[in-house]
């Protein structure tokens, strides 16, 4: 019994080590299954107008999903999604995890819907080959995940017209192919990363707390700071006057009485 304990521990350590080694090399252990992906999307998102009614999973011939509304396949004969565009369909719910099975997806456009929740931090491990991500005009909240920097091939990132908060992650400057970037009309604050300074296709408007080029300079004192300064100044002035009077009252008396004694 005693002997078996350390040997099983050795095995456990070996397995753990191998798993850790592999974790570094294998970027995704998820097998692509675009049918599973679309089934999951249909089940997770609520779509009231029946625009996804032709998403029928009964006839399973090769490439049958390629005729679904909003779906563009790499080729007609394979069930492999190139693009998914479900604009303006009153879709509600959160971004579904089943997206991770659409591994070949290049374009995801879910704009102009009623999606809620956050931009998932794992979206770039779900869809590592995204070139265009458009989640604009939804009801997304929370912050922009810094993990979006893992979408190395991202050319277009459109997150405008949501309720995103927090600051723009510095890590987004690692997106070497990023050309169009819009976070307009959110509740973002803080400094815009300097790397966006020379990009003309960026849009930061409509975020009252954002500062830095191309918007106004950071470091301008905010209203709150100004109020604190004025209050501090007034308090300081009042304190000095009172202490001045106090000193005058007690020490001034002494000097007045002195000449009379002469």
């Amino acid at each position: 019994m005693k002997g078996s304990c350390p040997s099983s521990l050795k095995i456990f350590r070996f397995v753990l080590l191998t798993r850790m080694l592999f974790a570094g090399h294998v970027s995704s252990t998820i097998t692509e299954d675009d049918i599973k992906c679309l089934k999951g999307i249909k089940n997770s998102l609520n779509e009231p107008d029946g625009k996804l009614s032709n998403w029928s999973f009964n006839n399973n011939s090769a490439g049958f999903i390629c005729n679904f509304a909003g779906v563009e396949c790499w080729t007609e004969r394979e069930d492999r999604l190139l693009g998914l565009e479900l604009r303006d369909m009153k879709l509600s719910g959160q971004l579904p995890q089943s997206l991770q099975y659409c591994q070949s997806l290049q374009t995801l456009d879910l704009s102009a819907n009623r999606l809620s929740g956050t931009v998932p931090a794992q979206i770039c491990s779900w869809l590592p080959y995204l070139v265009t991500l458009d989640l604009s005009s939804n009801d997304l909240s929370g912050s922009i995940p810094s993990e979006l920097s893992n979408c190395a091939y991202l050319n277009n990132l459109v997150l405008s017209n949501n309720r995103l908060t927090g600051s723009i992650p510095e890590q987004l400057s690692g997106l070497l192919r990023l050309k169009r970037f819009s976070v307009a009309n959110n509740d973002l604050k803080g400094a815009i990363p300097l790397s966006f300074e020379n990009n003309s296709k960026v849009d930061f408007a409509g975020n009252s707390g954002l500062c830095g080029p191309p918007l106004g300079k950071c470091g301008n004192l905010s209203r709150k700071s100004l109020e604190i300064i004025i209050a501090a100044g007034v308090c300081g002035a009042v304190f000095s006057i009172l202490s001045g009077f106090g000193y005058f009252w007690c020490c001034g008396r002494k000097t007045k009485s002195y000449p009379q004694a002469r």
Binding site: T75, V131, S149, L175, L176, G244
Partner: protein
């Protein structure tokens, strides 16, 4: 009088022949293709060279001026080779010959098809290089040459393409990343002999001094104003005392 009638008849015949020849130029090109292909399923059997134009032919679509815009015999068990004559179909937009058994090379003359939007030759047994002349196709949006035996390098001149798939070939050289190639990611290029770049880690984020300095300057300003106001207002008190 008889002479006049016979001259007229000859003229009519000549004119008819001339018109048929002119109207058939595109049909001739398609027939050259048909003659170069083996068609075991007889899909191309109604491609008749004596027709005035090919617009009624199966898998052929024309525009309002009877000029060919689409060729669609995909998945038709065709074998044989493509022909340079395809290059004269000046209004061709869609060339869909995918999923056949077509061999030989992609003719350079395809670069003359300035209206071409989609070139789908995937799932065949084509060899040779991808013609650099494809860079002349300013309207080309879909270029799918995957699953063939193409060799050589990827021409850098391809600029307008939305959707590119050259995977599953034997292409060599570097993967272009500039210009419109920035739209393409590894899926478009996999299973070739290309020089796949190591995934470069993102550069370290640029230091943002703006946000911290705004905090510091506010605190500094408050301290400064308090100090100055204390000095200012206590100075007369000291002087009087």
């Amino acid at each position: 009088m008889e002479r006049l009638i016979s001259v007229c008849l000859w003229l009519i015949l000549a004119l008819h022949l001339v018109l048929r020849v002119a109207g058939n130029a595109e049909g001739d090109a398609l027939n050259a293709l048909k003659n170069n292909l083996t068609d075991p399923n007889n899909l191309l059997q109604d491609w008749d060279p004596t027709d005035t134009n090919p617009c009624q032919w199966y898998n052929i679509t024309c525009n309002s001026e009877n000029s060919v815009t689409r060729i669609d015999p995909g998945n038709a068990n065709l074998s044989g080779k493509l022909v340079p004559d395809l290059g004269m179909l000046s209004n061709l937009q869609y060339l869909e010959l995918y999923s056949n058994n077509i061999s030989g090379e992609i003719p350079e003359e395809i670069g003359n098809l300035t209206n071409l939007v989609s070139l789908d030759l995937y799932l065949n047994v084509l060899t040779g290089h991808i013609p650099a002349t494809l860079g002349n196709l300013r309207k080309l949006r879909f270029l799918r040459l995957n699953n063939n035996s193409l060799t050589g390098q990827i021409p850098m001149a391809l600029t307008t393409i939305d959707t590119l798939d050259v995977s599953n070939n034997q292409l060599e050289g570097d993967i272009p990343v500039n210009g419109s190639f920035s739209l393409f990611q590894p899926i478009s290029f996999r299973n070739n002999r290309l020089n796949y770049p190591p995934f470069a880690p993102p550069p370290p984020p640029m230091p943002s001094t703006a946000s911290t300095s705004s905090g510091n300057s506010a605190v500094g300003a408050i301290v400064g104003v308090v100090a100055v106001s204390v000095v200012l207002f206590s100075a007369p008190a000291i002087i009087f005392a």
